[in-house]
Each structure stands twice: as structure tokens, then as C-alpha cells.
């Protein structure tokens, strides 16, 4: 049998995570809001059935949600990230080759399994039992077709949330049910350009001349067509590529106009990112800081700027990185604007064991490293930000709005589920 690829996709992932610890949410419509409680980013099936759309702004729909008894949750990425890692751990038991594609999707190599359907059903049952998360599985010879199969599995084709597209005639029948924009990587704009070539359906794309596609629309579209025919063009990316940068940015809960608040936010992003850096045994060679106003508030004067400061010697020390970030922050700060968002990026990441000091600037000393270790340990044991630099703020008026966040059931001793 040819090589098969399975796409495992968690059903309504964020809503499923919320329901795992809150059984009362099970048969009610649930929506999860974006950072800052802005708009809907995840919906349970019941919420979809009410016609609630992705991206619907919460503040415009409060009445409608109340009327239908919709349960609204702020996004709880700490919880979703932990549950996602658990799902991946279980999946690794079902394949030697796995590629994590997003927080709720993974491609698995299904090469060499005698009965892929049975294997997938067992996988699905185990993920559900171990983590409580329902998943759908699409199996096909290429990633693009596995995406198609998964989409149809979610719509109830196949059996028990598993759908397989191995034979040509099955693939053709499946593609007949979809629009171009249902395909992996086809957005409205590309669909328009395809239409100009007379291609209006996935099947027409599949059967189009690959040479012409390449010539007119580029190699990406050519590959897409080949993948639809069952010719694999997207290899499995087996290891998660090394993070080249670490980014931390948030919208402010309200417009920030004070320099001290902006600096607090930058310092606190650095603290978070530096901790991540040390966990991966990396150092950063440069720090980028950015700030921007709210471009949707057309009545406000607009400004956005970023500044990158290179360190003389790569470092993982929060104090060193904070110093650099605050210098950059000082360069971009302008009085008189209402800032909406600030963030930092750590760049030029390298292995901590390979750092060499130069004549004037030594690399992080054992003393610095010991201090950072102690800080990380204290924060791991006693909760985030127990120990932090005073510059990252004590009041924190700017913190994200997340008024209806559920507990961090799996990552904080103080927020465990309480059971009678």
C-alpha cells in the first residue's frame, strides 16, 4: 500500500478544553474570545448552529449571546497549551513520525499499517479517554487530501470521526463536495485568480495542466494540484524547526499613554521571553521592541515604531536583556499617543553553551546564571511573576482584559478543580 498520511484535528479545540473541566458547558453553546475579550475565536457546535461567526465582536453581540444562553470564556492559552501537549504525547504513541501543525492539528505518518482505519479509530478512542478531547482523523496519500478527508470526517462522513480517501474515485467524489476555498491554503484571492484561468472547483484544479499552473500562479499552486491527484509534494517536517526568534506581545487592556506603563509592559514581556529562552538553553543576540497605536481608532493620531538593539555578547540574563529592551523602548517612545500594543522579540538565538565573551564584555557569568536559575525556580514553584524586576511593575494597570477566563486547571496549584 502507498504511504498514507493522517491529519488529526481536535474538534472545536478551545471549547473542548473548557468543557473538560466544566461539564455544565457540555450541551450549551460555548464561545471563546480572543486576547482582550475582543471577538469570537472558537465556537462549540451549538454556537455554530446559532449562526455565531468566527471574528464576531463580543461587545456588539452581548445581547444575542445572553438571549441564547451562550457561555462566553476569555481565552485561556495556558490551559489550551497544556492540553495540546498532552494530545501530542498520546499521538506519538501511534506513529514513529509526527508533525505538529498547529495547537490543535498534527500530521502523522501512517506508513505500513495493515488496517489504517482500525488504527485511527483506536487512536481516536485513546486520545478521547486519556485527554478528554474529541478528534477527527482524515487519512489520504497527501497532506492536502488528508485535510480534505478530515474536513469530511468532521461533517460525519466515514465512521466514528475517521474518514479515508485512498482510491481515486473516492478522492474525486470528495472533491466534488467542496469549494475551492475549502482547500488547504486557498483563500478568496487565490480563488479569484484561479477563476480567471477558468478553474472554479477543486476538481478542475486537480485536473488542470500543472505546467500552466506553475507558469501562471507559481509552484505553490502547481504542488497543490499535484497533491489533489495524490502525488505527495509536502514532506513531513518531522522535527519542529528550531525557533529562530522568541516573540512576546500583547494588546493593552486599555490605551496606554504613560511612559512608565509602557516600560513596565516591555520589561514584563522580556521576563516571560527570557524564561522561555533559558528553558530551551538558548541565548539572544539582539532585542527588538515595538509599540503601536490603535489603527482602527481613526480619530486618534497614529504612530508605530520598532527598534532593535544588538547585545555586545549574547545573553540569557533577564537583567541584561531588560536593560537593552528599555534602551530600545526609550528610543521609540513618543509622548502624546494612545498606545494599543507593545511587544518584544528576542533575535539571533544561539546555543547557550557556545557563547564567547569579547575583550570588553564577558559572557554571562556563573553568578548571573545562578541568579536566573533561582528566579526561574521560584517562579515555577510559587507562580508566575512572584520574583521579578521592579521595573516590570507592581500595579500593572495595563494587563490584558480576560474577565471570564476559566481556571488554569493543569498548570497552577492554586487553580485546581475542586471536587466534593
Amino acid at each position: 500500500m502507498e504511504n498514507l498520511i493522517a491529519l488529526v484535528d481536535c474538534n472545536n479545540f478551545y471549547a473542548s478544553c473548557e468543557r473538560l473541566f466544566q461539564p455544565r458547558l457540555r450541551d450549551r453553546p460555548v464561545v471563546v474570545l480572543s486576547n482582550n475579550d475582543g471577538c469570537v475565536i472558537a465556537r462549540s457546535n451549538e454556537a455554530k448552529a446559532l449562526g455565531i461567526g468566527m471574528g464576531d465582536p463580543w461587545h456588539l453581540n452581548k445581547d444575542k449571546f445572553d438571549r441564547h444562553g451562550v457561555v462566553v470564556r476569555s481565552s485561556n492559552y495556558t490551559l489550551y497549551g497544556d492540553i495540546s501537549a498532552r494530545v501530542v504525547t498520546v499521538l506519538r504513541g501511534f506513529t514513529p513520525e509526527l508533525e505538529v501543525y498547529s495547537i490543535d492539528e498534527a500530521f502523522l505518518s501512517f506508513e505500513g499499517f495493515a488496517d489504517p482505519m482500525a488504527h485511527a479509530r483506536k487512536l481516536r478512542g485513546t486520545v478521547l479517554q486519556w485527554t478528554g478531547i474529541p478528534v477527527s482523523v482524515g487519512i489520504a496519500p497527501t497532506k492536502t487530501l488528508a485535510k480534505v478527508a478530515n474536513r469530511l470526517a468532521k461533517k460525519g462522513e466515514g465512521r466514528d470521526g475517521v474518514f479515508m480517501l485512498t482510491h481515486q474515485h473516492e478522492q474525486i467524489a470528495a472533491l466534488e463536495k467542496l469549494d475551492l476555498t475549502d482547500l488547504w491554503g486557498v483563500a478568496g484571492r487565490l480563488a479569484k485568480r484561479l477563476a480567471e484561468l477558468g478553474i472554479h472547483t477543486p476538481l478542475q484544479l486537480r485536473d488542470a495542466d500543472p505546467g500552466i499552473l506553475r507558469q501562471r500562479l507559481g509552484v505553490v499552486v502547481q504542488r497543490l494540484a499535484l497533491e489533489l491527484r495524490g502525488t505527495p509534494c509536502h514532506e513531513m517536517a518531522l522535527s519542529v524547526p528550531d525557533n529562530k526568534t522568541i516573540l512576546a506581545s500583547r494588546s493593552f487592556g486599555r490605551a496606554v499613554t504613560e511612559r512608565s506603563e509602557f516600560e513596565e509592559s516591555v520589561a514584563s514581556h522580556i521576563a516571560r521571553a527570557a524564561e522561555k529562552l533559558r528553558r530551551q538553553k538558548l541565548t539572544a543576540g539582539a532585542v527588538m521592541v515595538f509599540a503601536q497605536t490603535n489603527q482602527f481608532r481613526t480619530q486618534d493620531r497614529q504612530y508605530s515604531a520598532s527598534r532593535t538593539i544588538a547585545l555586545p555578547v549574547a545573553s540569557a540574563d533577564t537583567l541584561v536583556l531588560t536593560n537593552a529592551a528599555l534602551r530600545a523602548a526609550g528610543c521609540i517612545w513618543r509622548e502624546g499617543f494612545r498606545y494599543k500594543k507593545a511587544g518584544i522579540t528576542l533575535l539571533e538565538l544561539g546555543s547557550a553553551s557556545k557563547v564567547q565573551g569579547d575583550l570588553w564584555t564577558p559572557a554571562d557569568t556563573p553568578r548571573q546564571r545562578a541568579l536566573m536559575q533561582a528566579m526561574d525556580r521560584i517562579n515555577a514553584e510559587h507562580g508566575r511573576d512572584t520574583m521579578r524586576l521592579a521595573v516590570s511593575g507592581v500595579k500593572r494597570g495595563w494587563t490584558l482584559r480576560s474577565e471570564q477566563r476559566s481556571q488554569r486547571y493543569t498548570t497552577s496549584w492554586n487553580e485546581l478543580l475542586s471536587v466534593d
Binding site: R86, T89, W130, G132, P366, W413, L416, V419
Partner: protein, 143 residues
Amino acid sequence: MQQFDIRACEARISISVPVFVCYVPAGFPSPADDYLDHPLDFNELLIAHPAATFAVRVAGDSMTGAGIYAGDIAVVDRAVTAIDGSIVLVILDGEFTIKRYRCRARGRGVWLEAANPAYPPMPITEDRAFEVWGVVRYAIRRL
């Protein structure tokens, strides 16, 4: 057979290096070398299936007879299937509760027992929404 005596040496910089505890015969490594001494790891003791194990905080006194008290942290494993006598975390009519799971063979009935005479047994009838969430493996309590 040649033998090497491998000794620990003082580490000047702080890198943790495992110390072998037996001689290493050249050619055929001893199977015992796989068992390096390492500090006791309570995760290893308490968590059989990391991806399926969750911690919950106990409230209430219905399981004191089984050694589970209010304030304890219960270690719950979803990978384990409940059998007659297991202590389980269940969802009953939309509420979480920890009880002892009892079932008779051939589907002749399932019920939940508290480990406290003040609470009567609860038969699981078909009209109740019931689900075993996981099996409680340990209760952790500060003395």
C-alpha cells in the same frame, strides 16, 4: 578480560554527570549500566501516564474512610479503566464527585459508594447523566 575502573571526578563547573556504579568490562557492556543511580523522582512514583494524569483538589468528607480528606490533592489517571472497587472521579448529573465505583458482573447494576457512613450509596440509573472521568490513584496531603 580487560577491566576499567571508572571513577567520579570533581566537577569544577556545575554540569550534572551521572556516575556509573559498576565496573565496565570492555567489549560486553553490563546490562546493569543501564541503571544509573539518580535521585528519587516523585513524578515517577505518582504519575504512570503523564499525558492522562490530572490533579484535583478534594473538598468535602465523603471519602475519609478511604484516606481521602478535604484539602488533599487527588492524582487522577484517565488512562486507567475503572473496575469494581476503584476510587473514581465521576461526573454525575453535571457535577464532579469522588466516590468508590461498584459494579456487578453482567451489567446487573452500577452504583457509587462513599467511604463515610453519613452518605448513602447512589445507584446509577439510566436517567442519570453519568461518566467516569478518571481513576484516583493517590491522595497527597501535608501532615
